[in-house]
């Protein structure tokens, strides 16, 4: 096996399989259907966010506002319901808001040429700040009794929770989008070489806006799912490591931050690694602190291995590619 075929994706895949196999052997509660379902479920919100992140990153961007949009859009939505707004009106308002924020991200990145890392960092802060200070009174907003989100959260098919289906459906949709639609292919062209993509007549800038809008909408779905299963949305999630986890899940599976590479498969591999790892460690009753350490050390090992096997070249490295 030569070095180039031994890429990060395979390294992570092998690591995932190794962990899964040894867990099956050594941990009694690991290899059974309910646990496997719970692994998928525990990773589903993270995985859904990672799908949105993947679409943006493949197009050579990054979206740091996803977690903020996820939590705050749903918090605002629930707050409006709690305040007695009409459900459809509230939903329409929130979706409009979500699209507007996505479009703002895209506009600033595409038309104002501002680096996406700052645009989305700024809009993320703003979305959290605005909604938290102006629209909702406290950190957490509860799902009202009997709301459709509550029903959705309790929906089961073959004893499998709805999160799993939505994750699978969105993965499939993202796969179709990226692989088989014209706009999806544009994501790769624009990510690989934006200047060339523009020269051959691809509407690079509008497509960029589209990607950020998609990411925002996906975040909203992830937020709805979170609220459905917890019956409330906790906006303090902004302060957590969730955003970093989303980036790691996206990137660890082999989607390069410089764009143009990877796909849904990589997200799934990354999700599998993180999901299995967390599950195994919880079963083994490893404390959360050690879990963080173990998880991040494995991630570091993976990117170091990738860096050693596929070194970057001084001559071909892109300027400003961090």
């Amino acid at each position: 096996m030569n070095a180039s075929s031994f890429n990060q994706e395979r390294i992570v895949l092998i690591a995932t399989i190794l962990i899964a196999v040894s867990a099956s052997v050594f941990l009694s509660g690991f290899l059974n259907v309910p646990n496997l379902i719970s692994i998928v479920r525990s990773i589903s919100v993270l995985g859904i966010l990672a799908l949105g992140m993947a679409i943006v990153i493949i197009g050579r961007g990054i979206d740091l506002s996803m977690v903020a949009i996820m939590a705050m859009s749903v918090a605002w939505y629930l707050q409006m319901i709690n305040d007695g707004y009409n459900d459809y009106l509230a939903l329409m308002l929130v979706i409009t808001g979500v699209i507007a924020i996505g479009a703002l991200n895209g506009f600033l990145v595409a038309y104002a040429d501002v680096p996406p890392i700052f645009v989305t960092l700024a809009t993320g802060l703003f979305v959290f700040g605005y909604v938290r200070s102006q629209l909702i009174p406290s950190d957490a907003v509860a799902v009202p009794h009997g709301h459709w989100l509550e029903l959705m959260g309790q929906f089961r098919l073959f004893n499998i929770p709805v999160d799993v289906f939505i994750f699978i459906a969105l993965s499939f949709a993202a796969f179709i989008f990226l692989r088989f639609t014209k706009w999806g292919r544009y994501v790769y062209f624009a990510g690989d070489n934006p200047a060339a993509a523009r020269n051959i007549g691809i509407p690079v800038r509008p497509m960029q806006v589209l990607r950020y809008v998609l990411a925002a909408l996906i975040s909203f779905i992830a937020g709805l799912l979170t609220a459905a299963s917890l019956l409330s949305i906790q906006t303090r999630v902004i302060n957590s490591n969730l955003l970093y986890d989303v980036i790691l899940v996206t990137v660890i599976g082999g989607i390069g931050l410089s764009g143009g590479k990877g796909g849904v498969r990589n997200v799934l591999i990354g999700s599998a690694l993180i999901g299995i790892l967390l599950n195994v460690m919880t079963i083994a009753d490893i404390s959360l602190l050690s879990q963080n350490l173990i998880k991040s050390t494995i991630l570091l090992a993976a990117i170091i291995l990738d860096g050693v096997l596929n070194p970057r070249d001084e001559q071909t490295a892109q300027q400003g590619d961090i």
């Binding site: 600033l108 700024a122 802060l125 703003f126 990137v251 350490l293 170091i304 860096g307 050693v308």
Partner: protein, 707 residues
């Protein structure tokens, strides 16, 4: 003069439009936006918060600012080198813990705690640097993972040892002094920040390692190809960031004497925001410590101010988000459009009414009437040279000229068919002169005054004069040294045509028509350069009068010749001796009959003369039309004019065909022949002068027979 014209003259000659362009050209204008934001922030919160400016309150509340600024300085350096360091949040916490543990748990002296904190910072910085610099991992992802690992380790340490540290009875005056006291009116963190910022600023702007960082950040590939050790440079930026963050962690430890799980949480985002709000660009190469500091102050004053004013959760983030978005967008747009704005704004034409000139047309019967005699000149080096602005001959009859490529080319006597590159100077060698020791002195466009010894050693004589007090653009620099002549006492008199444009942009200077040309003198005895005269519209040729008591120099765009007195009652004064010529004068050189040869670069046209009375029109022209459609002075027809000390026009030479010498910038008489140069020409002309002294040569006329 009509009233309209008078208004125009007032408007364009009295209002200093050019200052705007000159200010915009300054690098420090980059700092203007964050600086204004800084002032606005401090003013807004200072006026809202009672007691904000009281000394005690400032001293106490800026401790955190000191620590934070140190982190931002480190991050700024990393960003200048083209990277990013998200691990600062972990480095800060671990360094603080290292200091706490060393001091409180192991009861070691304060300096050991200090070393422990710094070492912790440097080690983690070195890990980052090694992974990113040497293994070439991506900075964002790598430092993100290091951040998470670092914080996980920190949390585990806190869980296990945090309370032990707090139960400790250790205390030390030094520790408390660092944490709580005031030195010279400053708290220790602020003092440390000032020192570190100063050293870092000097290192970045004035030392080799600092330049390497900027070079790597500006263009990694070019830096690599230029032989800079890119990997090591990147490595050290992270080590430095680790160092400053470690320092900040130590100061934090002394300030609070305790660390908790939240220590340094989210610091990386806040520091990144500060660095960017200050105007440092992501991707490297552009930014400064000052910008980082301004960003730090803005961000902290704003966040703490909002909390202090009792605003609820979220207001802070909302304001920060807007601030960040606006700052980055302005920064990016400014960076992108700066050149456009500058190009549009910079040319600021003035009003000038030129009086009618006598005609130079063939058959007009005036003294300036041009003929076609130059078209018969033979060619030297046709097609071999480009842009011989000036030509000169030495005692051995060899011919020298400068070229566009920065070379001085020598043609060998007697037939001038063979040539060699006599010396490579760089820039664009323009005026030439031999001194007493047969060194070739040259005014090199865009570089300065240079000397080339007979054995081809090139030395710089002068590149700057004293800066004038009112200058905005640095006018100490010689931007367009043009022509020179040398007095018997060895003083070199030379012209610098414009302060506002580089040598190759001389056409822009003609459109602007602002008087910024200078006459200067260089004294080879002490190497000093002095400005003698200032404020002429493109000073050009210089020639010592035959009696060496005065010198002549041209003012090209005013079509005038001035006489500057070196001796006698008018010594040190200049007078205009010839004005309103029909051509734009260039170099002046001595003739064998006691007169002077003067080159005409081009001829005045009624259209351009008219445009000089319409500065608004020229301004519009430079803003709205592409450059090749602009109205320029005519340089398609020139000529040679001989005048004497009484300003009688003795003879004229022209090339009405425009084939061989359309524009003439220089000519030298040598043994009855006239050698003709042109800045836009591809040859040197050779013209036999009627009734000339066949033995006269300039070196002898200037310096006498060789002993």
């Amino acid at each position: 003069m009509t009233f309209r014209e008078r208004l125009q003259a007032w408007r364009y000659n009295l209002v200093p439009d050019h200052i705007i362009g000159e200010i915009l050209e300054k690098r420090w204008t980059d700092n203007a936006i964050p600086f204004v934001a800084l002032i606005a922030t401090v003013a807004a919160f200072g006026s809202q918060i009672p007691g904000f400016f009281s000394l005690y309150s400032l001293q106490e509340s800026t401790r955190q600012l000191g620590e934070f600024s140190l982190v931002v300085i480190g991050l700024t350096v990393v960003m200048l080198g083209g990277g990013i360091d998200l691990a600062v949040g972990a480095i800060f916490a671990l360094s603080a813990f290292a200091a706490i543990a060393t001091f409180f748990i192991f009861a070691l002296p304060v300096w050991v705690a200090f070393l422990a904190a710094i070492t912790t910072g440097i080690i983690i910085g070195a890990i980052n640097g090694y992974l990113i610099g040497y293994i070439r991992l991506r900075a964002f992802l790598t430092t993100l993972v290091i951040l998470i690992i670092g914080r996980a380790i920190f949390e585990i340490l806190i869980v296990n040892y945090g309370s032990i540290a707090q139960m400790s009875q250790v205390s030390s005056d030094i520790w408390d002094y660092i944490g709580d006291d005031i030195i010279l009116g400053f708290s220790v963190p602020v003092l440390t920040t000032i020192i570190v910022a100063f050293i870092t600023h000097i290192a970045l702007t004035r030392s080799r390692p600092g330049w390497h960082v900027l070079a790597v950040g500006g263009s990694r590939r070019s830096a690599h190809n230029a032989g800079i050790n890119v990997r090591r440079t990147v490595f050290f930026t992270y080590v430095f960031s680790g160092f400053t963050t470690g320092l900040a962690g130590f100061l934090f430890a002394t300030r609070l004497s305790g660390t908790g799980i939240g220590t340094g949480h989210g610091l990386e985002i806040l520091a990144l925001t500060a660095a960017v709000v200050g105007g440092n660009s992501l991707g490297g190469g552009r930014g400064s410590v000052i910008k980082g500091l301004m960003g730090a102050v803005i961000v902290l004053v704003m966040t703490n101010g909002l909390i202090r004013l009792g605003y609820g959760t979220g207001t802070n983030q909302m304001v920060l988000g807007v601030l960040l978005a606006v700052a980055v967008t302005i920064d990016i747009r400014w960076l992108k459009n700066r050149h456009k704005v500058l190009n549009e704004m910079y040319v600021a034409p003035v009003y000038l009414k030129m009086d009618d000139a006598p005609s130079a047309e063939a058959g007009s019967g005036t003294a300036f009437e041009l003929n076609n005699r130059l078209s018969k000149a033979r060619s030297i080096g046709l097609g071999e040279i480009e842009g011989p602005e000036d030509v000169i001959l030495d005692r051995n009859d060899h011919l020298y000229c400068g070229t566009r490529h920065g070379e001085v080319v020598r043609f060998f006597a007697p037939d001038y068919t063979e040539s060699e590159v006599f010396a490579h100077v760089g820039g664009f060698p323009l005026g030439l002169a031999f001194d007493r020791d047969e060194n070739l002195i040259s005014c090199v466009g865009a570089m300065g005054l240079y000397s080339i010894t007979p054995d081809r050693k090139v030395t710089r004589l002068s590149a700057e004069t004293r800066r004038s007090f009112t200058s905005i653009v640095d006018d100490a620099v010689l931007r367009d040294p043009n022509d020179l002549d040398i007095a018997p006492d060895g003083l070199i008199y030379f012209t610098d045509s414009t302060k506002r444009y580089d040598a190759h942009d001389w056409t822009l200077d003609s459109i602007e028509n602002r008087g910024t040309g200078r006459l200067l003198v260089y004294d080879p005895k002490d190497g000093s350069t002095k400005t003698l005269l200032d404020g002429y519209r493109y000073t050009n040729g210089v020639c010592m009068a035959h009696d060496n008591k005065s010198l002549y120099f041209c003012e090209t765009w005013a079509c005038s010749i001035h006489r500057y007195w070196l001796e006698g009652p008018k010594a040190g004064k200049a007078e205009c001796v010839l004005r309103n010529m029909p051509g734009y004068p260039d170099n002046i050189n001595r003739a064998s009959d006691g007169g002077y040869w003067m080159a005409w670069l081009g001829m005045r046209t009624p259209s351009f003369d008219l445009s000089l009375r319409h500065p608004a029109m020229r301004k519009r022209m430079t803003r709205r039309l592409p450059q090749d459609e602009w109205l320029f002075p005519n340089v398609n027809t020139g000529g040679v004019v001989k005048f004497d000390d009484d300003m009688n026009i003795i003879t004229t030479l022209g090339d009405l065909t425009g084939l061989s010498h359309p524009s003439v910038t220089s000519m030298r008489e040598h043994k009855g022949q006239l050698f003709i140069g042109g800045i836009l020409n591809n040859r040197i002309g050779l013209y036999d002068i009627e009734n000339a002294d066949k033995n006269w040569t300039a070196p002898v006329a200037y310096w006498g027979e060789k002993s």
